[in-house]
Subunit: 349 residues, 2 copies
C-alpha cells in the first residue's frame, strides 16, 4: 500500500506498443506526483513474448512474489503473434488478475469533449463497467478429448460462486451509490445460462437492500449491445461477468472514441495484493515501434491508479489534463511521445 514515503510501482511494459505507452504513462505519473514530493520507485518486470522466447517462462512464482511486494502495477500490453494463442494470456495476464484477486475489472467509458463517436447521435456517454475478474468462463476450467480427431470434444466451464458474485456486485453498488444517477444495470443471459444467470440476478436483488437509493435494471447481453448502439446514455454502472464484460467494454470503447482512449483497472478492493492498471487495447504489433500508438488509454489508467492509491487530487489533475488535451486535439497527428509530453505539461500546469 501507498504510504507517505512513496509508491513502489511494478512496471510491466510487455509487448509491442506496451513499452511506448507505458513510458508516457510513467512520465505523466511523475509529473502528477512531483508537487507533493511523493517518491515513485519503479521496478521493471521483464514479462511477455521476449521473456517467453528466451526462457519459456511466462510468470514464475518468484516474479509473482516480487510483484506482490509492490503497491501497484502499471501494465502496457501483453501478446505477440509469435507466441501460441493463450500462452501469454492465460499464463501471464490472466494469471496476474487471478493470483492477485483482481475481482473488480473497472472500465470507465466517457465520450470526452472533442472526441468524435462513430455513432451519429451518441448523446452523453458516461458510464462505468464493473466486470468480474476472477470467475466465469475465464477460470480456465475446461479441456479437450481426442484432439485433432473427428471425435474431438472441447469444453469450457463458466464457474460462478456466491462468494465471487456477491463481492463484485457489492462493489458495483457502492460505485453506483457514489454517482449522481445511482443506477446499476446487471447484464447477463439468464434466460439461457439459467444457473449462473439466476445466481447473478438473486445476488443483485439481495445486495440492493444494502443500497436502497440505487435503482437497478437488467439486460440480456444481446440487448445490451443494442442499447450501446442506440442509447448509450441510458447506462450509469454496468455489472457483469468476465466474458460479457470483455465484450461490452470493447464495444463501449468503440462508441466513445476507440481503444486508444479506453482505460482499465484490475482492482483488488480488499487490498490483499497490488491492483493493476492497464489500457484496454492490446500490443498492436502492426504499429509497434513507430511512435503511432496513442498513450491516452495508459495515461487515463494512471489516473485510476492514482485514485486507487489515495491520490485523489493528482488523479483528477491527470484526468483533467487528458480531457483538455482531447478537447484541443485537431487534425494534427502527434507521436506517442508528443501526446505524452503535452499531457504531462498540462499536469504540471
Amino acid at each position: 500500500e501507498a504510504t507517505t514515503d512513496g509508491i513502489d510501482l511494478a512496471v510491466v511494459a510487455g509487448d509491442g506498443i506496451g513499452t511506448e505507452v507505458v513510458e508516457q504513462g510513467l512520465a505523466v505519473l511523475e509529473a502528477a506526483l512531483a508537487p507533493s514530493g511523493t517518491k515513485l520507485s519503479t521496478t521493471e518486470f521483464d514479462l511477455g513474448a521476449r521473456r517467453w522466447h528466451a526462457t519459456g517462462e511466462t510468470l514464475t512464482d518468484e516474479d509473482l512474489e516480487r510483484i506482490k511486494g509492490q503497491d501497484a502495477i502499471l501494465l502496457g500490453a501483453i501478446g505477440d503473434p509469435s507466441v501460441p494463442s493463450g500462452v501469454l494470456e492465460r499464463g501471464l495476464l490472466l494469471k496476474l488478475r487471478f493470483a492477485l484477486d483482481h475481482y473488480v475489472n473497472l472500465r470507465p467509458t466517457k465520450l470526452f469533449e472533442g472526441v468524435s463517436s462513430p455513432l451519429a447521435d451518441p448523446g452523453e456517454i458516461d458510464f462505468v463497467v464493473v466486470r468480474e475478474g476472477t470467475e466465469g468462463p475465464y477460470v480456465g476450467n475446461g479441456g479437450a478429448l481426442r484432439v485433432g480427431t473427428p471425435a474431438e470434444i472441447a469444453t469450457e466451464v463458466s464457474v460462478n460462486t456466491a462468494f465471487g458474485v456477491e463481492r463484485v456486485v457489492r462493489d458495483a453498488f457502492a460505485r453506483a451509490n457514489a454517482r449522481p444517477r445511482k443506477h446499476l444495470t446487471l447484464v447477463h443471459k439468464h434466460n439461457v445460462l439459467v444457473h449462473a444467470g439466476h445466481l447473478w440476478r438473486r445476488t443483485v436483488e439481495a445486495v440492493n437492500a444494502e443500497f436502497p437509493d440505487v435503482t437497478t435494471d437488467y439486460l440480456h447481453v444481446d440487448a445490451a449491445t443494442i442499447f450501446l448502439t442506440t442509447n448509450p446514455s441510458r447506462f450509469d454502472v454496468i455489472v457483469t461477468d468476465n466474458l460479457f464484460g470483455d465484450i461490452l467494454t470493447d464495444q463501449a470503447a468503440a462508441i466513445s472514441g476507440g481503444i486508444g482512449l479506453a482505460a482499465s483497472a484490475n482492482i483488488n478492493p480488499d487490498r490483499t495484493a497490488p491492483s493493476m492498471f492497464e489500457p484496454v487495447h492490446g500490443s498492436a504489433p502492426d504499429i509497434a515501434g513507430q511512435g503511432k500508438a496513442d498513450p491516452t488509454a495508459t495515461i487515463l489508467s494512471v489516473a485510476l491508479l492514482l485514485d486507487h492509491l489515495g491520490f485523489a487530487a493528482e488523479s483528477a489533475r491527470v484526468h483533467d489534463a487528458v480531457a483538455a488535451d482531447l478537447a484541443a486535439r485537431g487534425a494534427a497527428v502527434r507521436t506517442t511521445d508528443q501526446v505524452g509530453r503535452d499531457i504531462a505539461a498540462r499536469v504540471t500546469g
Copy 2:
C-alpha cells in the same frame, strides 16, 4: 420437405407481438405462393406462455412429433415476464432448435436503402452471420449447488465437438463461396477459451482446403464488436458459436436499422427435420396488441423460408418487396397490418 403439391407449415405464433407479426408473415407468404398455385396448409401450434400457464407444458413429445411432420416452421416470438426466465426459452425455443438439429442459425444483416443506421458513417452493410445452433454454452450443461446459500456455486458448460463445429463451418464456407466477396471471418475468443477456440480455429483451417477460393480471417469476439461499430463493411460471412452469435447478431441488427428488420433462419441443412424461421426480436410485451410491431423481420424470415424450400423466385419477390417498401418509408407511422398489407401488395405486384 416441400413437394409440388404444397407446403405444410407449422405456425407457432407464440407470445406478445408474435401473433401480430406472424399474421402478416403468413399473408405475405400466401401472396408469394399464389401465382404458382402452390397450396399452403398451416397448422397452428398453441405453444408459449398461455399454454404453459394453462397446462404447465412447454413442448410435449407429441407436439414435437407433429411438428416433425411439417415442411417448415414459422415462429413469431416466445416469452413473457409472467413465466420464470428460462422456462420457455430452454423448454420450448431452444428445445425446438436442438431437437430439430437446427445447427445453422442464419442471420443476414443488410442496411437497406431508405433505412437509417445509428452509425454516422455505416458504409455498405451486407453480411451474414452463421451462428452455430446446437452446441456451445447453449447446451444446458451446467448446474448449481447449495442454491441460495453463501456457498452456492453455479456452472455453465460450453460443449463443442469436432462433429458439431465442422458441419456448421462447412456450411458457412459454402455460403461464403457462393457470395461475390467469398470471405469468411471466424469469431471466437481462442486466447482465453483455448480448448473450444482452438477446435474452431483448426476446423476453419482444415475446411478451407475444400473451399480454396474463400479467404478467411479471425477476430476475437471483443474486437468483432469494435469492427461492427467502426467498419461493418469489412464483413461478408461470419461464423461463430451459439453465444457469440447471439450477441453479435443483436448488435448487427442495431447497426442496420433495428431488430424490427432482423430476420433469422434456424436451418437443418441435412433436411432430417423441418427448419424454423423467426424474427430475431422477442415478444415485446410492452407493445403487444397495439398494432405497433414491425412485421418486416418476420416477412424477411418468410423470404428465407421460401428460399430454403426451393422457391427461389418467390423468395426474391418477397425480399424485393420489402426493399421497395423500406425505400419508400417516410416519417408516416403505419400499423403492423398496414405494413404487412403494403408489402403483400408489392409482392402481388
